[in-house]
Symmetry: C2
Subunit: 254 residues, 2 copies
DNA sequence: CGCGAAAATTTGTCTAGACATCTAAACTAA
DNA sequence: TTAGTTTAGATGTCTAGACAAATTTTCGCG
């Protein structure tokens, strides 16, 4: 069952490191492994050979391999788990923004495990911005759903999504039961929705956002504001998100 | 004059690491050193003891100290220079934006060494944005001065600054001779100038900018566009800068 | 067959030492 | 005095080995 039993060897051979060109061995090893990951030889989620096997393959000490892996883990290319092994963890998550933007679908397409945690769901009065986006008047009742989203166990997104409390009575409780917002909307009669507009800026995060995203406060977050509308073009939800910029690239498809 | 000449010993003693509490020695060492930096025992810019001395102090192998230092360097707390030593590196540079914004003054006030490198100085036709800012017409001749600025030897800023070639004839040559833009403007008869407006956004850097700032392309840069005017309120220069967001926080004073 | 203990596997930490590379200070010769 | 060279000091890299800790697999027992 092991791939090494089949035609191709598990470890691509034909790698010769130069010990006299002034470039550290561990850097050369890192380059080789990063190139192989980029080429898809080790697909995302795949288990890499063990440190011992890699050391054998490159004909170096295990510690030299570890130095290379450490650099790659720091860059977010790998996930190293004690006792289990080393797993490819594609660095940049391309979060595609299209007309049909769905968080979970979007990431599953890139073979990411997704998870979410609701911070709170509550009713409040619409702010000017929210009211304008949803076509309400300032102070009208809206449901605010605050959430942290994870990909591969790493927090990548903190968001608040607003719904009209008048248009979707009871969505407050539905949201608390559902895993995804798409699902909650379907239960409230929204068969389908599309993204009408998305604005992207960036700024330094609040302390709370930085904590949720587990990143320092002096590293910017990407901030998006998006408006979703139903099939008739009526506004459904307005969402404001902060993204961990180290891990996410917002990509607009046209 | 050195603080170490006074009461306290250079290396704070009385540190005992536990080898049986399950916490890695290097983590304990990192905690101790981070605490000492936070307490100001090692002030910003100060040279730390050598790896060998630290290893002696904590009674561990040099490699164990290196592991701790590596973690701190990654966090941006230190700057390790081969052959020279280890230096405390205050993480965040607060770049204050006020009416009287001067790059060098600004950083000197924080005890930063500053340096600059001109990439090129050339005449070109004003783009729409530049023309609008400087009150010119698109295509009017402007001098573009591209520069990389350093603080404490680290690149923190890539900028292009535009001047009207009509208003400041010969500034092209003056700029090539001067170290600072403030100085060049004075030589061209601008006794004083003030910042009229600054816009700040953030985005991912171009390859060239990332190279200059020595940062990965997937880490955002802060982008500022600023307009300086003279005492009569006439536009003097328009500048577009990309800042290494890891090291700089733009602060608006009001 | 199921379950728990033991063994094997795999990564984590620490030590020890050798040599390379870079920097700054000391020295030497013009 | 100056310029170039040598030397000492400091960090960078690599190897080697021993355990520790976490996980998975194997195996034996009921």
């Amino acid at each position: 069952m092991n791939p090494s039993d089949l035609s191709a060897p598990t470890s691509p051979a034909g790698v010769d490191l130069s010990r006299e060109n002034g470039v550290a061995l561990w850097k050369q090893i890192q380059q080789v492994l990063e190139a192989e990951i980029a080429q898809g030889i080790w697909p995302p989620g795949e288990k890499l050979p063990t440190e011992f096997q890699l050391a054998e393959r490159f004909d170096v000490n295990r510690h030299t391999v570890r130095r290379a892996l450490s650099g790659m883990e720091e860059k977010g290319l790998l996930r190293v788990e004690q006792g289990r092994g080393i797993f490819v963890h594609e660095h940049v998550i391309d979060y595609m923004v299209t007309k049909r933007t769905r968080f979970t679908e979007n990431l599953r397409r890139q073979n990411r495990s997704t998870d979410g945690k609701f911070l709170f769901v509550e009713m409040e009065g619409a702010s000017e911005k929210v009211a304008k986006a949803l076509g309400l008047r300032e102070g009208d009742p809206v449901i605010c759903c605050a959430k942290v989203s994870y990909a591969d166990g790493r927090p990548i997104n903190v968001s608040e999504t607003y719904f009209s409390a008048v248009r979707f009575p009871g969505i407050e409780d539905v949201l608390r039961e559902c895993e995804s917002i798409t699902e909650a909307l379907q239960r409230c009669g929204v068969r389908d929705y599309t993204r009408k507009s998305t604005r992207v800026i960036a700024r330094l995060p609040s302390q709370a956002d930085a904590d949720h995203l587990r990143q320092p406060r002096n590293r910017p977050v990407l901030v998006t504001e998006g408006l979703d509308v139903d099939e008739q073009g009526r506004p459904v939800s307005f969402g404001a998100s902060r993204w961990a910029s180290d891990w996410v690239q917002i990509v607009f498809e046209s």
